[in-house]
Every structure is written in structure tokens, then in C-alpha cells.
């Protein structure tokens, strides 16, 4: 009996230890892959003597699913603006009140009081951009400013197009392509959307996230993509261009938040404040190549980002951009159903 008890005690100790593995001076960030400047993290680590660990996720849904289970061990997360109301209503985020932090004064006016986080009670801007197409113009010479690249793939690109499988991005693109409004629940349009997607899929080579590496290696000749990713590709291969679909495209932002069950809350707050410093935000942009919503940070960005067509939306396209937002639950449910049907 004693041995049984000893065995149980050991088992319990193993579990307890797993739960208490967080020591002081740590910060665990759960973020999109290839999205955090190592240089900027080094600076934070050196300034505050904190060891930062970054874990990647590849979609808003993955991040949400993992954190919702509890005990993820992460302190911070970077959800897109259309998911932030879900994170808040599910009670997953800590009300850290960045709006009252010292560096908040640097946040650009248009990002200081956004719809998805009124008064900036939870989140700090991380990056913002657009969803469009990216095309290797050595392979395809036609018009790239259209979702037809993905949904009505031209002959040259058949079997070479990738689609980044972020559900809402793809659904929004297909809705706009079929003349619908973002978040439409109109069944005639959604039926067209479904048919468009099902018909388009055989022309795709993959549904993957790693576009930068695979566009550069020639495994993909085109893809749906985000603008910063497109800029990083063009800097390595000038033939790769970013297209702003004339049927409409989505403006999005990703925002840094602290989790309610974070173990290192003080370090996380320091990091939120740190990210609103123009120099640090600029350094981060120099890595992920997106705008960051912090005024004055452009001084600290690499010169090749100034006036880049991927960052500054050309005037003729700006009018067809629509902001990303959370769709009503019943619409979201339809989107999810269409999406699952497509994925099968």
C-alpha cells in the first residue's frame, strides 16, 4: 500500500511540476509564424532581463482552439481584429488597459480607438495590411489585380496556385469576387461562393501557409497572400508582384493581447508598452514587412519599405478595400460549413 501511495505521489508531483514550470523572468508569446523580429526580441530581453519564448501558430482558429482549452502556458497572443471580439467574449483576454500605458501616446490616431477594442482595453497594434494575390510575373503576364488568379485560374497558373487556408480570408475573397458584401448572409450569393470555391480547387496545387519560401523556390507561381509577405518575396525576387483585387479586398490588423491565464502578467504588460515605442515597432516592421500603427515608427523602418506598393495602397485601389470585421454568428456558421465542404 505504501508503494501505491508513493507511486501516486510521484505521479502527482510530475503533474504539479508540469504546471509550475514557469519561473520568474520569462515571457511566452504565442504568435503567427515568421512574424516576430528576433532583433527586437533580443532588445526586449536585454532591457528587461526576461527570457522570451515564441511559439508559432498558423491560423486564428488554431490559436483560439488551443488557448480555449486552458493551461496553454502562453502569456500573450496576436489575434486578427475580426477574432478579437470572440477572444474577449469568450473571456480569454486580460483587461490590461494598454490605453493607459506610458507609450500609448505613440499609437496612430486611426488605431487608437478601433471598433474591435473600444478604448484599447485589451490590445496593442502589432501589424496591419491587406489580403490580395501574389504572382510570379515570369510565369504569368496578365492582370494580377483580380481574385480570378485564385478562383478562375488562368491556364499558365493552373496547378501552380496556392491558397493560404485562413478561412475568413478565403471566404471574404470569394464573397467579394461574386459581388457580395463582406459578411453577407445572402444565400444566393453564398451558393455562388460555394460553387466558385469547389470549381476552383482542382486548379490549386496546395493550401498552405508557407508562401514566402515556396514562392521563392518556385513550388508556387501564385497564391493568395498578405501584403507584407508579398514584399518580402519581391525583395528576394523582383518578378514577384502583389495584386490588389479590383473586386474588393480586406484591410486587417493583428493585435497583441495578454491572456487571462497568463503566468507572467507583469512582463507581458512591459512588452505591450515596449511594442508601442516607435523604434521597437519600426524594428519589428523591418522584419515582418507590414505597417504597424505606431506613429513615427517609419523613421526606424528599412528604406525599401518607403513608398513600396505593397505597403502604401495605390490610390486607384484604395476605394475597394473593406475593413475586416467579425461576422454575425449565423453568417459565420454558414461560412464554416462552406469552408469545411471545401477542405474535404
Amino acid at each position: 500500500m505504501k508503494r501505491v501511495l508513493a507511486g501516486l505521489a510521484v505521479t502527482a508531483a510530475v503533474f504539479a511540476h508540469a504546471g509550475l514550470a514557469q519561473a520568474a523572468g520569462e515571457l511566452n508569446i504565442y504568435n503567427w509564424g515568421n512574424y516576430t523580429s528576433p532583433e527586437m526580441i533580443k532588445k526586449f530581453e536585454d532591457t528587461y532581463k526576461v527570457k522570451v519564448t515564441i511559439t508559432d501558430y498558423d491560423s486564428n482558429d488554431t490559436a483560439l482552439a488551443k488557448v480555449r482549452q486552458g493551461g496553454s502556458g502562453f502569456d500573450m497572443v496576436v489575434p486578427s481584429q475580426n477574432y478579437i471580439p470572440i477572444w474577449i467574449s469568450e473571456g480569454l483576454l486580460l483587461e490590461s488597459d494598454p490605453g493607459k500605458m506610458e507609450n500609448f501616446k505613440n499609437v496612430a490616431k486611426e488605431w487608437a480607438d478601433p471598433e474591435f477594442d473600444k478604448g484599447r482595453k485589451y490590445t496593442v497594434p502589432w501589424a496591419m495590411g491587406t489580403v490580395g494575390t501574389v504572382v510570379n510575373t515570369d510565369v504569368y503576364k496578365g492582370d494580377i489585380n483580380t481574385w480570378a488568379i485564385v478562383f478562375d485560374t488562368p491556364a499558365e497558373l493552373k496547378g501552380k496556385v496556392n491558397v493560404v487556408p485562413e478561412m475568413n480570408d478565403v471566404m471574404d475573397a470569394a464573397v467579394l469576387y461574386n459581388g457580395g458584401k463582406k459578411c453577407t448572409g445572402d444565400l444566393t450569393i453564398l451558393k455562388k461562393v460555394r460553387d466558385t470555391l469547389v470549381k476552383a480547387k482542382p486548379n490549386w496545387v496546395a493550401m498552405e501557409y508557407g508562401t514566402i519560401e515556396k514562392m521563392l523556390s518556385g513550388d508556387f507561381a501564385a497564391s493568395s497572400d498578405w501584403n507584407g509577405s508579398a514584399l518580402r518575396q519581391r525583395l528576394k525576387n523582383p518578378a514577384i508582384h502583389y495584386g490588389y483585387p479590383k473586386e474588393g479586398f480586406v484591410f486587417w490588423s493583428d493585435n497583441l493581447a495578454i491572456l487571462k491565464d497568463a503566468k507572467n502578467v507583469e512582463n507581458a504588460k512591459l512588452f505591450q508598452n515596449f511594442m508601442m515605442d516607435p523604434e521597437n515597432a519600426g524594428m519589428n516592421s523591418g522584419f515582418h514587412r507590414y505597417a504597424n500603427g505606431i506613429a513615427g515608427s517609419d523613421k526606424f523602418m528599412p528604406a525599401d519599405m518607403k513608398g513600396a506598393p505593397e505597403i502604401d495602397v495605390p490610390a486607384q485601389f484604395a476605394s475597394v478595400g473593406v475593413p475586416s470585421m467579425t461576422c454575425p454568428p449565423q453568417v459565420q456558421e454558414l461560412y464554416t460549413k462552406i469552408w469545411t465542404e471545401l477542405q474535404k
Binding site: 482558429d61 482552439a65 496545387v205 456558421e333 465542404e341
Partner: protein, 305 residues
Amino acid sequence: MTQPGTIEAERSRDIRKRWLLSLPALLIVLLAATGPLLIVLLYSFLTPGPYGDVLWKASPDGWIGVFLEKDIFTETLSLADAHVSIFVRSVLLSLATTVVTLLFGFPTAYFIATRPERTRELWLLLITIPFWTNLLIRTFAVLQIIRNEGLINTLLMKFGLIERPIQMLFTDGAILTGMVYVYLPLMVLPVYANLEKLDFRLVEAAYDLYATPFRVLTKIIIPLAKPGLIAGSILVFIPALGAYVTPSILGGGKNLMLGNLIELQFGQGRNWPLGSALSITLMLIVTVALLVYVRNVGSQEKRHG
């Protein structure tokens, strides 16, 4: 002299003691094996939550969704041909993997078993070397070889055999290649274990009686090696059926196998009950495969007495 009665009592005490001693282990095995399974079974009968997870409301939809699908717009039920095609692809790819690993694994095992005893261990060591590297890394290595600017395409283009790269990555063929590479050692080892015990005097006797090499192979070696061949096939087929990493990296997220389909339900699909029902379906397929194995080998052993 001890009484027969006391011997009996001692024996039963002994048995009780053994049971008591093994009880903790048995309990843990029972809990660890059936506990999670029961949760999976329970979840398969609940309602999906809006952002994943489940609502505590019973619903048969998870199981209905395995085989049938409701059209989003017309609400009509039809056979879930998407699921069926993934099931079929998984079974076919796993069978193909098994056959190819057999074709390569059997000669390899035979070769090792016929080496002098001292060098056999070296050969076995060589077979296990890929296991020293993480599965993920090995799969990425295969990706590097077959991608458009990978080793094969670069060489073929250099020698002018092809003008443009052949699309090998993100196809069923890529998944098959990856799985054969990953599972080959699982075939070689049990077949070798069996061939090692094979009495090669029987082979010699057959040759002395003027049997052709082909007859020796089909009438002597293969029948004697059958348990090993079947064990190897099962060891390859079952994990291949549930493979996740290989198809997700080499299939490009478009050519799903069962493992990927299940994962999808717990992530972007937000349908845990369906995912649970699919997992149990996969388990049932595996159980059937195992039953076939037990039947075959069991009857074989009885026949040989």
C-alpha cells in the same frame, strides 16, 4: 509434511498477492487506455460548440456526418462523398505503402538474414539509423528531394531530360514516397526476426532436390516467413492509415488523409463531435485489419502445431 489444504491456501494467497501487486499498473493501464477513449466516444454524441469544443447536448449529427452530408442550401441528405473519397484514399495509400515496403523490405531482410552472424548486427544498426532523426525532419528531407527545385528535378533538367520541373510535391505520389520511406524499417525488422530463425537447411534440401530458385522462394521461404510478413504488413498498414505529418507536409493540405480530416474538425472545422466520430471509425477499420491478422496467423500456428 505439509497438508494438501495448506498448499492450496498458499497458492491462492500467492495468486491474490500477485493480483494486488499488479493492481496499480492494471488500474493505470485501464484508466489511461479506456478513459480518453470513453471521452472521445462521449464527445461524438454531443453538439459542436460555436468556436470548437462541445455543448452538453446530445446529438447524433457527429455520426451522421461521417457518412452523410446535408447540403447547406437545399438541406437534402446525400452520401458524404468527400469523406468516402478520403477514406478510400487513406486505405488505398496505406495498402500501396504496405505493398511497396514489402517489395523493398523482404529482399532487404533476406539479405541481412543471410549475412554471417557477426555482420548482421551492423546491417540492422544501419536499418535503424533513420529512426535517430525526428520524423518531421525526415519528411522535410523528402520534400527537399522532390520539390520543383529539388534534387531530382534539378538533376533531370541538368541532363536535359526534361524542360520544366515535374510536379511531384503535393501529389498522392509524394505522400506514398514519404510514407514508404518512413515505414520501411517497420517492415524490415519483423521480417528479419522471422527469417533469422528460418532453417536454411530446408532451402539447401530443396536445391538438392532440383527446385528452381523461384520454387524455393514461393514454396519454402515465403510460407515459412509468412508470420513475419504479416506482422510487418500490420505494423506498416495501421500507422499509415492514421498518418498525419507526412500527408500534411507532402500533400500540401489539399490531398487529405484520415488523420488530416480528423485534425481539421478540431481546428478550423470547429466540429469536435464529427472529429470524434471519425476517430472511432478509424479505430474500427484498424480493429478489422487486426482481426484479419489474428485469424490468419492464429490458424497458421495451429496448423503447424
